[in-house]
Amino acid sequence: MPFGQLLFDDLFMLLLIGVAMPFIFFTIWGLLDISSIPQLPQGR
């Protein structure tokens, strides 16, 4: 059985990668971006 084909049949791996990708690249990275915004200096 070709390795690629086995990969496509692995339901749990697909689920894991499918959920992890947006969680890491969109949600986590996005939250990091938002949380690193500086405060507008007072008295400008």
Binding site: Q5, D9, L11, I17, F23, T27, L31, D33, I34
Partner: protein, 576 residues
């Protein structure tokens, strides 16, 4: 039309341990208990579609400016109702039905946890009714996006949470059923492509529903005054739900395309590896596109935006490009094998245009591809987004994907679900035959109207342009666009009414199948002109020159849309 021969090998343990019947048309083993849950979900889907449809007419006749059907307050309420019912309830109930179909009937297996499936149905129904009631009571005029700090009644968020938990349970039932089917060996080797596509949709649904928990649980507590919620964090979390929800539609719609192409013309996947790879690209990358809504937001850096808005260097778009070729090519090869070999497009002329499932599929593919897909990618271009964000161009884009694409495809496959799953003869076949055309023409005009108005900068989600009119702000063509929006929307609504009428009449009054033959011929799926079309090899039978020409025309159009938008962007004021 018994097709229990050929590649369709009946499973060794067919009908073992669960009440079932053999489908006369496809030879598949049908779990009777699954059938009932599927029917319930389809019926719920259509009920919510009616609710969303009624509100859509009100919305569209208000936006058509010269009519002003509703006062602003009511307009925003109707728009909230329209968004929730069409984008969430209609489509997700229908998708849950598709999931149950793909994990049981397609695999010749049973639905595991039928009681859980009914429980999920109950939760989804309760949630949908609660949210709808809250909106109708005027306690949730916050639109589909419900951006914090615009506040709705806590019941609005609670209803959405209940619905999400129900849908999450439905996904669990789907995955469990696939695992059980594998353990019980009701299928050999890999799952069929349709099930693989539905697995993609289900995993995207899991992403969506996790996003839903991150979004609505804090919003619920915030609405009770129990916690603070940062508006930008809410926006980020919201779109980790809101956009993936539409990617479920994408994956489910493409799956339905493969299914209806098979059922109507006997098409077989061109190359299993290529089609599955395309689904894999969706699975890995499509949900990064959630940032499309946040491109002109404060707080997100350029690297983040460019990487995510392009779904990791447009790899997910490559998936769509693959489907754009592989489905028409599979149809072409099947029809050529049936003897329609004349010229480049002889097969297209001889295609079963009178079969509503076929016409719906082709119209859905054309409108999704040319209008919805291209605009989705181009409006999501980091810089180009500035000249489209929150204008009517955006609803124009997603009505081309979700309405002219997904809804039309789902309408098409319903004409097979009726005889095959609901076991009802399709009543009024003549009406059914014209339905996809009416709906597609209506959608096209409606979308064109929005696109025209949007290109003049007319904002979306706005009850009236009276304040803008006082300044003579928009050029006259913008108002022609708004009028066209109304005309097209009304025609589409007629198409929607025909669909609902045919389905409801068939379910209530249609004769039991197989008391009579299906009105729409099922393609001879196993004997495609006596030719076995295998994947990946056999160069002669494998050639699809017509489809190849079509996709290059599509690519040229795509590039044109891109260039026009870059030119438009270059004409605005320098900004950074």
């Amino acid at each position: 039309m018994l097709l229990a021969t050929g590649v369709m090998t009946l499973p060794s343990r067919a009908a073992a341990g669960f009440a079932s019947r053999i489908c006369q048309a496809t030879g598949l083993v049908v779990d009777v208990a699954a059938e009932k849950v599927i029917a319930a979900n389809v019926v719920a889907a259509i009920v919510f579609m009616v609710l969303g449809g009624v509100s859509s007419v009100l919305v569209e006749l208000t936006r058509a400016e010269w009519l002003q059907a509703m006062a602003p307050g009511l307009y925003y309420r109707a728009l909230t109702l329209h968004g929730m019912n069409m984008l969430i309830y209609w489509i997700i109930f229908f998708e849950v039905a598709c999931l149950y179909f793909g994990c049981s009937i397609v695999l010749n297996s049973r639905l595991v946890g039928v009681r859980l499936a009914w429980g999920a149905f109950g939760l989804m129904l309760a949630g949908a009714l609660l949210t709808n009631a809250t909106i109708l009571a005027g306690q949730g005029d916050v639109l589909f996006t419900s951006y914090v700090p615009l506040k709705a009644s806590p019941l609005f968020y609670l209803g959405t949470i209940l619905f999400a938990i129900g849908a999450l349970i439905a996904c669990g039932v789907f995955f469990a059923s696939i695992l059980v089917a594998r353990a019980e060996r009701t299928y050999e080797g890999s799952v069929p492509l349709v099930t693989f596509g539905l697995i993609t949709a289900a995993i995207i649904a899991v992403v969506t529903l996790i996003g839903g928990v991150f979004t609505y649980v804090p919003a619920f507590f915030w609405s009770l005054g129990l916690m603070n919620l940062d508006p930008e964090v809410y926006r980020l979390n919201y779109w980790s739900l809101g956009h993936p929800a539409q990617q479920i539609n994408l994956a489910a719609m493409v799956t339905v395309w493969y299914m209806t192409a098979s059922l109507t013309t006997g098409a077989r996947p061109l190359n299993e590896k290529l089609s599955r790879f395309a689904f894999l690209l969706y699975l890995f990358f499509i949900n990064l596109g959630s940032v499309h809504h946040l491109l002109v937001d404060p707080g997100l850096t350029r690297v983040f935006k460019v990487f995510n808005t392009s779904y990791a260097m447009y790899l997910a778009v490559l998936g769509s490009m693959i489907h754009a070729f592989s489905i028409p090519a599979a149809i072409e090869i099947a029809l050529r094998a049936q003897g329609h070999r004349k010229g480049l497009f002889g097969w297209l002329r001889k295609a079963p245009w009178g079969n509503p499932a076929f016409s719906a599929t082709i119209l859905s593919m054309a409108l999704f591809g040319f209008v919805g897909g291209t605009t989705g990618v181009i409006f999501g271009h980091e810089q180009i987004n500035m000249v489209h964000h929150n204008t009517l161009d955006i609803p124009a884009h997603f009505h081309a994907t979700v309405v002219a694409g997904t809804t039309l495809a789902f309408m098409g496959v319903t004409y097979y679900l009726l005889p095959l799953v609901l076991r009802r003869e399709v009543l009024w076949p003549r009406l059914a035959r014209v339905q996809p055309y009416v709906y597609a023409v209506g959608c096209t005009l409606h979308i064109a109207g929005m696109m025209i108005a949007g290109s003049y900068g007319v904002p979306r989600r706005t009850a009236s342009l009276a304040a803008e009119n006082a300044q003579h702000l928009f050029a006259q063509p913008a108002y022609w666009g708004l009028a066209l929006l109304g005309v097209g929307g009304t025609i589409a609504a007629v198409g929607g009414v025909i669909y609902v009428a045919v389905v409801v009449a068939s379910v209530l009054f249609g004769r039991q199948v197989p008391a009579s033959a299906e009105p729409f011929r099922l393609a001879p799926v196993h004997t495609v002109g006596g030719v076995t079309v295998t994947s990946g090899v056999a160069a002669k039978e494998h050639s699809a020159p017509g489809a190849l020409v079509l996709v290059f025309v599509f690519l040229a159009f795509f590039i044109l849309v891109w260039f026009l938008n870059m030119w438009r962007l270059a004409s605005v004021w320098p900004v950074s």
